[in-house]
Amino acid sequence: MLRVTGLTKSYRSAGEDVAVLRGVDLTVATGESVALTGESGSGKSTLLHLIAGLDAADGGEIALADINVSGLNDAGRAELRRDRLGLVFQQFNLIPSLSVADNLVFQSRIAGRHDAAWHDELVERLGLKNLLRRYPEQLSGGQQQRVAIGRALAPKPLLLLADEPTGNLDEDTADEVLHLARDLVARTGCGFLMVTHSARLAATLDRQVNLHAGVIA
């Protein structure tokens, strides 16, 4: 479903081009969950951002289902994120002025893919029922990340992308949040690609891919 071939990306830093990705090949099948690991600066976040269409690659191809992601312009990539992808970040990235309920529905609403039954199920499974009227600043980190996962999965994306989703959480909370995410991914049947530096968490996914020096090891 996701096929990345020969992906390259370099950044200019201090007047020099630094190659971050040097020809990455990666696939994620439908319903498959993949952990992307690697040491700091190995380019795993960059790879995730490129797949998410947050940035454009220098070379290589990204194909998501029948869509050639690398061929899209900014508006096309925005549409891709909106309709086909779910994104979860380390800093939760909830909208502070919206209540939990509004944060949850917000992506599916702007994608025009709101499904009331699925929404109720998400609330139920993520245990957010009593938190709906609160604001993000009134939630714990684990609660915030559960809302973020709910928001990402509400439009039923093809692929859930997570960038260190548990990086700001303690171990127990991290396990619990990841457990919930895996369950929901399985329930929707979408692909799941998670960047993590924790081998322990990586091991709980179907497959582990290690990025080293800009290529898949």
Partner: protein
């Protein structure tokens, strides 16, 4: 369609969580729009009135034929011209007194009145008959009817007869009474006479004027700008300048509120983009959000503007009447274009104030560059840039002072001065605070100064607003005070006689004079007179002054030759008013030729005198010479020197003997009181707008401090943690605010004096034609300083009080939340 609405809802949710920010933004927009549109409403109202006056049957918008000496002429000339193909319509004009008040009576001929003459009376078929056949009808504006306290159909008494029944005709200029020409001839006792002929635009062939009327008539071409418009230009420019200033002060507030809101919403915008909102859609919705807010604020602002205008209108009307004799109706009537313009200015203002923030949002990358802002470096760059801009603006001001020679240039100098000062203010504060920091020894002291410096970027806009408001207050206050002092001294000299009489006719004046000769308490009878002529194409007055010690000793001269008063006696020299000397660049020793009935009158200028408040140019000559050269001059004005104790009995005796009322005879004190009243009203609008501006600046300061207060917790929390009490912290915060406000106010004082100098030496000279001596009034400055500090105290009090009462938990949270 639903997608943008969802995004808009998300964006708006920010304001729900930050109502204070929203209030700030709206208050800024509302006050900007309100003051701007209020002033515009006043200007528009006045302009409508001028238009009505100009369009009332042969104002300056219509070409006219008048007699060579501007007197009336036989209506046969009208018939002869019509028979020769001229599209003319006759008019007669005179004055009538109703209940002691003087009104302008216009006689028109509705059948030939050119259709392009504005607001011709819509005389209907029935009403044509009613209008032209005796007793006829007298058309008046609704305001005039109210002023008279009469109703339609009433027949007021005047000139010894009953006037025609009153009928209201909208669009007529207030104060004008319009009747049929035949009826006007009867009322004014001028049978067969007309005052002028309005010339229609019809292009039918006609004989030359000379072949029909000989040299009896001359053609006066229409002018696009009415006399009133020309005269009152400066007054309106003044108002507009104030409106503009308030507008910009309001936009300062908007700018700071929007800047803060956008800064706080950057993460939200990033999340929106990450969730798949395209940059274009997001930017569009941001603009829509801003425009919607501006629309709401604009509407409220317009309502406030209306209220402000309605409140100020009586004073504006009084000023214009006192200064220029312009009649402005007391009821606001606004055109739709005013509402549109108000909304438009609100939206444009909001967009301008938000331009920087919007540009930042548009250029925003989706991925945050996570490095924290090196505020110190950024602030220094920003300060350098602003200071450079300030110097450039000052340079422009210097060039304008050197080469500008118009009222607009005068205001441009003012604007440049203030803009430059506002731009350089942060640098001034920075330097002052840095000096403070260097002199501090205790750690808390060092922190105090350093932290004040860090706060600068957040507060600077509000402080700029405060600076501008204070400077304008100092400037205008100094100008008004200078004017007031000069005016009063001048008035003392000018009103040197003890009793003033205005007789109804030359005959009555003679009788009064004869009677006065036998009264022992009358020390001197000083006849006066005034003739109208023109010089250099503009109308001027020729004032006749009797040769008497009263004038020699008291009449204030700005400049004169030796024994100017003696040289005035033979009638070949004159004094000129300051306005006239400036306008025509006349100096002592120059020669002028004044048109007089018997031919041009050559005069040498031997003195220049101040003639404040007179829109017309004036020359003063010996009274006897005036009556020789202008034999028609009414000799109805008398001034008397009377022993102080005898003044009241003499006035009573005069009133009883000659049937004079308060308007015809007055003592010096009454005249002075009247003059001062007119003078005071002239500046009451300026003073009111001044106060508004200061108020807006106060709001700017308050809102800036409120928005800053929350973001400052991370800076304050560590100090609290290391042992400063909340109360102490609050006191320090208050002290800091007061310190920067004080520095700003101290900077505003010299700036304000500079503004006053500009107003006195440049703007007034161009606008009114007189230059006033520049005085500094220390008490006034101290008073303003106190007001400024009080405003700052009020503005700072609320956030500081909140800090003092803050729950420790709130302070603790800043540590937890910090990444």
């Amino acid at each position: 369609m639903r997608r943008p609405l969802w995004i808009l809802a998300v964006l708006l949710s920010h304001w729900r969580r930050h109502p204070m920010q929203l209030a700030t933004l709206l208050i800024g927009l509302i006050s900007a729009t309100a003051l701007w549109s209020g002033v515009q409403a006043l200007n528009q109202q006045a302009r409508i009135a001028y238009d009505r006056a100009a369009a009332t049957f042969g104002g300056s918008r219509t070409a006219m034929l008048v007699s060579k000496d501007s007197t009336t002429f036989p209506q046969q000339l009208f018939v002869d011209l019509r028979r020769a193909g001229w599209p003319v319509s006759p008019m007669l004009e005179g004055r009538v007194q109703i209940d002691g008040r003087s009104f302008r009576l216009l006689g028109v001929e509705p059948v030939t009145l050119p259709s392009e003459v504005g607001n011709a009376p819509a005389v209907g078929r029935g009403s044509l008959q009613a209008f032209v056949t005796p007793p006829g009808e007298m058309l008046v504006a609704g305001e005039t009817l109210r002023d008279l306290g009469l109703k339609e159909g009433d027949r007021p008494q005047a000139n010894g007869t009953s006037l025609p029944p009153l009928r209201v005709q909208a669009e007529l200029a207030p104060g004008a009474l319009v009747v049929d020409i035949g009826i006007a001839q009867d009322i004014l006792k001028m049978p067969g006479q007309v005052a002028r002929l309005l010339v229609g635009k019809s292009k039918a062939p006609h004989a030359t004027l000379e072949s029909v009327a000989g040299d009896k008539l001359r053609l006066v071409e229409p002018s696009a700008e009415s006399d009133l418009e020309r005269l009152t230009d400066s007054f309106h420019l003044n108002l507009t300048a104030f409106g503009l200033l308030s507008f910009f002060v309001g936009l300062f507030i908007v700018n700071s509120a929007i800047g803060l809101a956008f800064e706080q919403r950057l993460p939200m915008l990033r999340t929106l983009r990450a969730c798949g909102v395209s940059a274009r859609l997001l930017n569009t919705v941001l603009v829509i959000e801003l425009v919607s807010l501006a629309l709401v604020a604009g509407l409220i602002g317009l309502v406030c503007g209306y209220v402000i205008a309605a409140a100020l209108l009586p004073d504006v009307a009084a000023s214009l009447r006192g200064l220029y004799g312009a009649q402005i109706p007391g009821q606001l009537s606004l055109k739709p274009v005013w509402w549109f313009a108000g909304i438009a200015i609100s939206i444009l203002g909001a967009l301008a104030a938000a331009a920087a923030s919007l540009a930042k949002a548009i250029r925003m990358p989706v991925l945050a560059t996570a490095q924290p802002q090196a505020w110190q470096q950024a602030q220094r760059r920003w300060l350098m840039f602003q200071s450079a801009a300030a110097l450039a603006v000052f340079a422009v001001a210097a060039v304008l002072i050197q080469f500008g020679d118009s009222l607009i240039a005068g205001f441009a100098v003012l604007a440049a001065l203030m803009l430059g000062a506002a731009l350089i203010l942060p640098m001034v504060l920075q330097i002052a605070l840095a000096l403070g920091q260097r002199s501090a020894r205790a750690p808390v002291g060092i922190w105090f100064w350093a932290d004040s410096r860090q706060q600068l970027s957040g507060l600077s806009l509000a402080l700029m607003a405060l600076l501008l408001a204070l400077a304008v207050n100092v400037g205008v206050g100094t100008m008004v005070e200078s004017f007031s002092r000069t005016f009063l001294v001048w008035l003392d000299g000018r009103l040197a006689a003890d009793v003033y009489i205005s007789a109804a006719s030359d005959a009555q004046a003679k009788q009064i004079k004869a009677w006065l000769h036998d009264r022992p308490e009358v020390e001197a009878i000083l006849p006066g007179g005034r003739a109208d002529t023109q010089l250099g194409g503009a109308p001027i007055e020729v004032l006749g002054l009797p040769d008497h010690a009263t004038y020699r000793d008291n009449w204030p001269l700005l400049e004169s030759t030796a024994n100017a008063w003696v040289r005035l006696r033979p009638g070949d020299t004159c004094l000129v008013s300051e306005q006239l000397s400036r306008r025509m660049k006349l100096a002592i020793g120059d020669h002028i030729e004044v048109p007089a009935p018997g031919g041009n009158w050559p005069l040498e200028i031997v003195g220049i005198y101040a003639d404040y408040g007179n829109p017309k140019g004036q020359i003063a000559v010996n009274f006897a010479a005036l009556t020789r050269r202008f034999p028609q001059t009414p000799q109805t004005r008398l001034g008397l020197r009377v022993a102080p104790d005898e003044i009241a009995p003499l006035i009573t005796a005069l009133q009883a003997k000659f049937g004079l009322d308060d308007r015809n005879v007055a003592d010096q004190a009454t005249m002075k009181r009247e003059s001062k009243r007119v003078f005071n009203r002239t500046f009451s609008v300026t003073a009111a707008l001044n106060a508004f501006t200061l108020g807006v600046a106060g709001i700017a300061l308050l809102t800036s401090l409120l928005t800053l207060a929350n973001s400052r917790l991370p800076q304050l929390a560590p100090l609290w943690a290391i042992g400063l009490t909340r109360r102490r912290l609050a006191a320090l915060e208050l002290l800091k605010t007061m310190a920067v406000a004080l520095i700003t106010a101290l900077f505003a004082l010299p700036l304000g004096l500079l503004v006053a100098w500009c107003l006195l030496a440049i703007v007034n000279v161009k606008a009114f034609g007189w230059r006033l001596p520049f005085h500094v009034f220390p008490l006034q400055l101290i008073e303003l300083l106190a007001v400024a500090m009080a405003a700052a105290l009020c503005a700072a009090a609320l956030p500081v009080a909140r800090l003092a009462r803050m729950q420790p938990a709130t302070l603790i949270r800043t540590f937890v939340n910090e990444r």
